[in-house]
């Protein structure tokens, strides 16, 4: 067998995808109320376009993006704006949000479709993506139209769709690839056209052979958007070795194109734009149907959930409602996480909304959960160095941070750490290395 593409180092956490990988996406019940933060993305928060008491319909713009790096937000249900103020956000902070009390009717604002979207110009496409408030759905939630507008001095020659889904437990992207492969390919072609790129890849970890098949089929059969691209173009479905963090942009580019994004650099520095498969699908729906990003697929899973599911969820739905729809907690449930187990955020309350970047709600039990409160000194075993995908020395970095020697930590390339958590995962001393990294980063100028 051919050696599968991958990056150097990395780890193999237990996948636990079997809880949901075979469950088709189901629509979550219409939420009674949604809390829509004005900041769900990297960049400036959106500015409210409604006031308390306004009646809104689904798809209606309620907050518009401010400045270059920002994203608009839309009403995900019809109803009445009952509050605009600070509300808890999955990041643990309080964030300015718009609260809509649903009227149960789910009335929609009609959308402007573009059946001949094939003939749109790059600028028109970007405008549609921007109006739809699309951001990266993989987690970082970077505004997509910005990613599609690289500066002139950074020529792009490759687009990679990220279908790796390397976080354990999560299966949202997997299900989307099975259920909407054509839409994803169409989205990829739109992105390629916008960037004037002829080389596209869809990287998928090898533990999803059905998704690889489905995407291959869609790539070879989907001819409708053919004229979109200059010929010859090519799109390749790329199986990847199952390894965490294979889905990190830099690792993905390294595996598929064998290019190394320079230290502290961005994918565009090596001519690549990476988008999540979910984002590509959202791009397609925005450009073709004018649909704003008002819902997304969320994997509600973990051994702490009675009936794990993949759900299509309106943005702003509170986690408590989704957990209830999945049968509630099992007895041992102790920890609720927005996102995956490696990089997600632990929640202190369940009245917290699903955002555009929330790929999963994971409930861990006592059995899964390892306390990171008690930790030992570094015994210098070197495990973390062996696996850090960025080739850093987490042992040294965590010790320097622990001792308050932050400036020195910077010399050990502190800012190249993207907090994937692999080092903490392998550490026999149970050291909260990611916490040390964040602390050090907050104490020195990048």
């Amino acid at each position: 067998m051919l050696k599968l593409a991958t990056f150097e180092r990395g780890i193999h956490p237990e996948e636990v995808k079997e809880l949901t990988e075979a469950s088709p996406i189901v629509k979550a019940a219409l939420p009674k109320r949604v809390v829509i933060p004005l900041s769900q993305h990297t960049g400036a928060p959106a500015k409210p376009e409604v006031v308390i008491g306004d009646l809104v319909k689904r798809n209606q713009l309620i907050g518009s993006g401010q400045g270059f790096v920002s994203a608009s937000v839309h009403a995900s249900i019809s109803g009445k704006v009952i509050a605009i103020g600070s509300f808890p956000h999955p990041s643990g902070r309080m964030i300015q949000s718009i609260v809509i009390e649903g009227d149960g009717k789910d009335e929609e604002m009609s959308l402007k479709e573009t059946p001949d979207y094939l003939n749109l110009s790059a600028d028109e496409i970007k405008a549609l993506i921007k109006d739809a408030g699309i951001v990266g759905l993989g987690g970082a939630a970077f505004p997509t139209n910005v990613k599609l507008s690289p500066p002139k001095e950074k020529p792009i020659d490759t687009v990679i769709l990220n279908g790796a889904e390397c976080e354990p437990y999560l299966t949202a992207d997997h299900r989307l690839m099975l259920e909407q492969p054509e839409g994803i390919v169409a989205g990829l072609k739109i992105i390629m056209k916008t960037l004037g790129v002829t080389k596209g890849y869809i990287g998928i970890e090898n533990n999803k052979p059905d998704a690889i098949e489905a995407m291959k089929k869609a790539v070879s059969s989907e001819e409708s958007a053919y004229s979109l691209l200059p010929t010859p173009y090519s799109i390749e479905v790329y199986p990847l070795k199952v390894k965490y963090p294979q889905g990190a942009e830099k690792m993905l580019i390294n595996a598929i194109k064998d290019r190394e994004v320079p230290s502290r650099g961005l994918p565009m520095d090596v001519g690549v734009v990476v988008q999540n498969v979910g984002t590509a699908f959202a791009v397609y729906e925005a450009v073709r149907y004018g649909k704003p990003l008002i819902e997304r697929i969320v994997t509600v899973t973990g051994r702490g959930i009675k009936e794990p599911k993949n759900m299509m969820v309106r943005i702003g739905t509170l986690m408590s409602e989704l957990i209830e729809q999945c049968g509630g907690f099992t007895d041992g449930a102790v920890k609720v996480i927005a996102g995956g187990p490696m990089m997600g955020f632990a929640q202190w309350s369940l009245d917290i909304p699903v955002l555009k970047g929330t790929s999963g709600i994971l409930v861990l039990t006592e059995k899964d959960y390892v306390s990171s409160e008690e930790y030992l000194p570094c015994i210098r075993c070197g495990n973390c160095i062996d696996i850090c995908p960025m080739g850093l020395n987490p042992s040294m970095l965590s010790i320097l941070s622990e001792k308050g020697r932050y400036e020195e930590a910077k010399e050990y390339n502190l800012f190249d750490c993207f907090e994937c958590g692999s080092c903490a995962y392998v550490c026999p001393s149970n050291r909260p290395i990611v916490q040390f990294m964040r602390l050090a980063k907050s104490m020195v100028k990048p």
Binding site: G265, G328, K335, G344, L350, D386
Partner: protein, 335 residues
Amino acid sequence: MVEKKEHELIVSVSPHIKGEESVSRIMWSVNLALLPAFLMSLYYFGPRALLVTLLCIGAAVASEYIIQKSLKKDVTVSDGSAFLTGLLLGMNLPPGVPFYIPIVGSVVAIVITKQLFGGLGYNIFNPALIGRAFLLISWPKAMTIWSESTAAFVGLDAKTTATPLGILKEEGLGKLIEMFGDKINLYTQLFVGNRAGSLGETSVIALLLGAAYLLYRGYITWHIPLSFLATVGVLAWIFGGKSGLFTGDPLIHLLSGGLMLGAFFMATDYVTCPTVRKGQIIFGIGCGAITILIRLKGGFPEGVMFAILLMNCFAPMIDRSVKTKQFGAIKETKK
């Protein structure tokens, strides 16, 4: 149901799952890996070996317990690291030592070398080796009386003799071969461990068995042992011969003394060796070179212990000067 849980939610920083490795799991695995060599020490040196080893372990665990209690620290004796220090010290002692020796050695190892430096993770020197060095300097006589291996459980009054390395140093290879009959028999006896020496160092095969287990589990890597052994072998071949360069016998140097025990179980001690793999190779080479220097030119027949201790001093410096292979390192070339 959903509401009720709220106040119980645990909030902590990612990652929220963790691999199965823990300090105690590693330490107990190393202890387990030393079991074959320990059994061989019983076989060759009888009940005395058991007694000495138990005294070492008991004293090490007890002194860790007492000092942690008195310093009001968490007691960590269950993590197996004090046990390991005791076991390693025992394996480094001659079978016939008086019984106060294991106790003093363990106290020096645990109290002074480990706990007074801040406990596991903070010590600069390998505790068991400092314990042994202290004993060797304080009681040079008692620490160099070697019993002949008997394999017969005659116990306390075994005949004393010199170690193969001692004979090699004082009387040369010829005498050694003569004692064992022929060269093949010499190598074989060294390999299985039928010879005078410290308790746990004599049986190469038993040590290799344990080392293979640790390599397989990933608890040690090849970097230190291989560079250490290769350096000893090459330098012994070049400088070890009586009739000029390149006439030495590398095998005899590799198989005798505490080299195998040192290279696989003592030089690889996480806390006191470099963490970056490239640095570990430098460390191993350093250990090998100093070992041979002492064996060929020094006052002692064996140099493994001092070699490792000396290199322990350099470990932090090696770690600071050897860089990891950074992803996306910016090359110094102009575009």
